[in-house]
Symmetry: C2
Subunit: 227 residues, 2 copies
Amino acid sequence: MTRILYGLCGRDAGRPFSPHVWKTMMAMAHKGLDYRLEPVPFTAVPEIEGGATRTVPYLADGAERIVDSFAIAAYLDQAYPDKPSLFAGAEGPARLVESWSQTVLHPAIARMALLDIHGLLAEKDQAYFRESRERAFGRTLEEVAAEGEGERTAFAGRLEPLRRTLGYQPFIGGQTPLFADYIVFGALQWLRIAGGPVPLEAGDSVALWFERCLDLHDGLGRSVPAA
Amino acid sequence: MTRILYGLCGRDAGRPFSPHVWKTMMAMAHKGLDYRLEPVPFTAVPEIEGGATRTVPYLADGAERIVDSFAIAAYLDQAYPDKPSLFAGAEGPARLVESWSQTVLHPAIARMALLDIHGLLAEKDQAYFRESRERAFGRTLEEVAAEGEGERTAFAGRLEPLRRTLGYQPFIGGQTPLFADYIVFGALQWLRIAGGPVPLEAGDSVALWFERCLDLHDGLGRSVPAA
């Protein structure tokens, strides 16, 4: 059985940058499951399996088809209960971790890395990306990116809930990582690969946690160099 | 065996307002455990069991003594595994929920309700409260409370991670509440009892969640009227 993970890519298929695909790559490694990563540029997503999904990550596992990183993680725990757990039985609170990441971290990272992400894409995808994002923001990419410098300054402060958590335990999951770690890791990895260094001081406990996450699963996160 | 929960009180011992004590009261009800609530004013905390603790909530359960609401919840799941679980096996991510509540919601609520909390206390405790809080803030209570109106305006926005979560599920715990719900409930209940209405629109999904939490355990949260 070959598992296929369809994940977003830019011009260089060897540099996956999507936070959601990184969450799933870490989840697959956590479960110890083999798969083939099928890189898909933005404009080719509607062509996956003849129009099976509008978004990635999209996992084909035997006869199963699952879309969305959180749903994939939940599926993996259900389908492979004997492999290390991603939720330790409690999916609910991990949704709040995801929601915090999506509503607090992602908008900040988008502003910091928007033009860099645009620069990673093939020409056809650049046009799609600019049109769709400018419609969503109601402004040009350049206008949104102008807020990036302020976001860089504020970023360490936005991570205060994680910093406080790390005063109790080495991972969001506790003594070992869970999917909740991969959720936040995915956001910072997106910034690391697309936009360059994560604006944290070297000794910051969040920076140290991110380094620990980059070390996980034989250094999977480091397999793609920083921008 | 009589369980005793030592919890902060003001002049009116029948109006517990501490967010941390509310977390524990909800946790005890969730587990279906009887206990006697022993109200303790700020300045009497050092006298509990001859100086056994510097903070409340403090639970005496048979020979066991546990301090701190999170530690008490963890103890309850360990000591009473046959009662409904507070963590469903995953304490780690609940720590991030607590850290989010402590670093984002609590500072905002403190500014909104600081003078109201002061007004709830007996004279001796008012002096302690003013001195300790003014030292912590580096300003007078009145100067800090002047920021309350701005915090009221911003409060709904700060709850966006919870609002997004509630788009997936009725409780932070998922289909049913877990300790993660009681953590955030405790913060809003603190504001409801000490400072008056929680500044959310009636149809806001967070307001509806708070109402659901107030209904839990035979309406325990409603047993103390709003300010």
